[in-house]
């Protein structure tokens, strides 16, 4: 019981973590009650094309195909969260493995992997993602995998730094002396102890993933069969003068969700690493 209490107190103590968690809960509730909240079936092509706010029971209007904007926004929550979660999981796993190996094993392995990390940190990964999607197909699964495959570099860098310092700790050194194999040490000691900054970074990465998916959809490279906010903005681009509501609310939804994940990430950083100085108060 006391551990849970501790968690609650930590959350309540940090403003960003608190709001981040509350926001996340709201999002999860929306997904849970998706069926109830949607006023119309978001995939259904209705007869009211391009109608404005409040017309005919459409809270936020409709698009050219008659789809209800409000319901589409609700449906988009699960898309965004799915993309955020899966792509950042992939990115985290790759980053932890590469960074952990580089930092712990050192030597030539480190040299090669570090160079790889630098390459990925330097190149504009968005264009890489663009290319892969355009070349290999734009299903939502591809999008998630691609984002995961290209955004691991910051996680790797963090994990590597952790591994480098953990490597010198006594408990790791004694494990080496006791004859434990390198993979064992990596997975039993290095990764579990060094993972904290990566967790915070991954949470922030979720924000990035949502923005990237939106950007890809905006360029027409998203999955047309899945309702996503980026797709809605792409859709609304042509109607910017006549039906501004199509693109506007989708963007607001993105902003809201991205802020929540930033706050979560920042808050986690404070909680897990008290020396971190963010843009907020000291």
């Amino acid at each position: 019981m006391t551990k849970i209490k501790k968690v609650f107190r930590t959350i309540a103590g940090d403003r960003q973590l608190l709001f981040g968690c509350l926001g996340l809960m709201i999002l999860l509730l929306v997904i849970l009650f998706q069926g109830v909240l949607e006023t119309h079936d978001p995939y259904e092509y209705g007869s009211d094309s391009l109608v404005g706010l409040g017309v005919n029971g459409h809270l936020l209007g409709t698009n050219k195909l008659g789809q209800d904007i409000f319901s589409m926004l609700i449906a988009g929550v699960s898309t965004s969260l799915k993309v955020a979660l899966i792509s950042s999981m992939i990115s985290a796993i790759i980053g932890i493995l590469i960074g952990g190996a580089a930092g712990f094993l050192g030597g030539k392995v480190d040299l090669v992997l570090s160079e790889l990390i630098n390459v990925f940190m330097m190149i504009p990964t968005f264009f890489l993602e663009l290319m892969i999607i355009a070349l290999f197909g734009n299903s939502i699964v591809n999008v998630m995998i691609v984002i995961g495959l290209t955004s691991w570099a910051s996680n790797a860098k963090l994990m590597r730094a952790q591994a480098l310092s953990l490597r010198e700790r006594t408990f790791v050194k004694s494990a080496v002396v006791m004859g434990e194999s390198q993979p064992q040490i990596l997975f039993n000691y290095i990764i579990p102890n060094g993972i904290f900054p990566v967790i915070a970074n991954t949470t922030m990465g979720m924000s990035g993933a949502i923005l990237t998916e939106a950007s890809l959809s905006f360029l027409g490279l998203g999955d047309v069969n899945v309702i996503s906010w980026g797709q809605m903005i792409y859709d609304g681009k042509s109607y910017i003068t006549s039906a501004w509501w199509i693109a506007t609310f989708a963007g607001l939804a993105i902003i809201f969700t991205v802020i929540i994940f930033y706050m979560l990430g920042d808050g986690l950083n404070h909680a897990l690493n008290p020396k971190h100085v963010s843009g907020g108060k000291k």
């Binding site: 390459v119 940190m121 190149i123 264009f127 950007s215 360029l219 903005i233 910017i240 506007t248 843009g279």
Partner: protein, 329 residues
């Protein structure tokens, strides 16, 4: 002592350049492998959907050297690229150098202007916020930049178009110049600048938060350092301490951030170019991708990598100038 330092600086620069070249080379190779391993090819695009003529296909492949083995194609492209020739676009049959050359200026204009404005405005705002930590100014700017960091650039562009173009009619929303009006001299400059306002504003606004955050946290951190306490103990004027000592120390992370932000900016510029139909490289990339125009794609990617590498090397050198501790790395 000075001679030693100059020598160390030279070595540092050379090392940086070599490292940059290595990275570019790796990117080059990765891109090549990636493009070649994807389904579809430009011949398909040229032939069109229905044309299946094998003779024509073979002829085209011969013409463009696509029937050679991959390593051969790789080396051919590499040797040309090193000499400055980025090949010929398969789709348009124009020199890739020319195609990029036409568009690159517009992109650089947009990107560089936004980068510098964001640097100056964001850093200044951050420094002021740190100096008056906890004040209303600090709370408002911190909150605003926090939010701005979460805004998709292309959406912001669209919103600004709605506001300034559609509703208020003050600024144009399309292109770099007013079509059908061939301005000359200063009138041309003015016309371009009018068209630049919205795209630059969009890009600058979404980039400012990075600089704000970096500057603010750097200044706060430096103000807590021991040597600031020492200077205060000497009775030195608070203003002098801030503008000479805090500033010079706090500016270092901002320099580092400039290089990193460049990579993000290049992404941002392309999206903005699409929103505002700005005639830059962004749109070029998209068409090249959909048409599988290998040479153009490779060429653009190479140009981008080289630019970023150059910026990063410059940033590292400038950093070394400002931080005397680095050169002996």
């Amino acid at each position: 002592m000075m001679e030693e330092r100059k020598q160390a600086m030279k070595k540092y620069v050379i090392r940086r350049i070599l490292s940059g070249i290595l990275t570019i080379f790796i990117v080059f190779t990765l891109t090549f492998i990636l493009i070649k391993s994807a389904p579809g090819d430009p011949i398909r695009t040229l032939l069109g959907q229905d044309n299946d003529d094998p003779v024509l296909q073979a002829a085209l492949e011969e013409k463009w050297g696509l029937n050679k083995s991959l390593p051969e194609q790789y080396l051919a492209y590499l040797s040309n690229a090193v000499q400055g020739d980025l090949g010929t676009s398969i789709i348009y049959e124009r020199s890739v150098n020319d195609m990029i050359g036409e568009k690159v200026g517009a992109t650089v204009l947009l990107g560089l202007t936004s980068a510098i404005l964001a640097l100056i405005i964001g850093t200044t705002m951050g420094i002021i916020a740190a100096r008056h930590e906890g004040s209303a100014y600090d709370l408002v700017t911190s909150g605003a930049t926090y939010t701005m960091n979460s805004v998709p650039s292309f959406w912001l562009g669209l919103m600004l178009i709605i506001l300034f173009s559609t509703k208020l009619g003050w600024l144009p929303s399309y292109g770099m110049t007013t079509a059908r009006k061939n301005f000359e001299g200063w009138a041309y400059v003015a016309d371009v600048m009018r068209h630049m306002v919205l795209p630059v504003m969009t890009l600058t606004l979404v980039t400012i938060p990075q600089y704000f955050r970096t500057a603010k946290s750097a200044v706060l951190q430096v103000m807590n350092e021991d040597f600031i306490t020492t200077l205060r103990a000497t009775g030195m004027d608070e203003k002098k301490i801030f503008y000479k000592y805090v500033f010079r120390n706090a500016i270092l992370p901002t320099i580092t951030i400039f290089g990193i932000t460049m990579a993000y900016l290049i992404t941002g510029v392309s999206l903005i170019e699409v929103v505002f139909s700005w005639p830059g490289m962004g749109r070029l990339v998209l068409t090249a991708i959909t048409q599988r125009d290998y040479p153009t794609l490779q060429g653009i990617y190479l140009v981008m990598s080289v630019s970023i590498a150059v910026v990063m090397i410059l940033v590292d050198i400038i950093y070394a100038i400002f931080d005397p501790r680095i050169r002996y790395d």
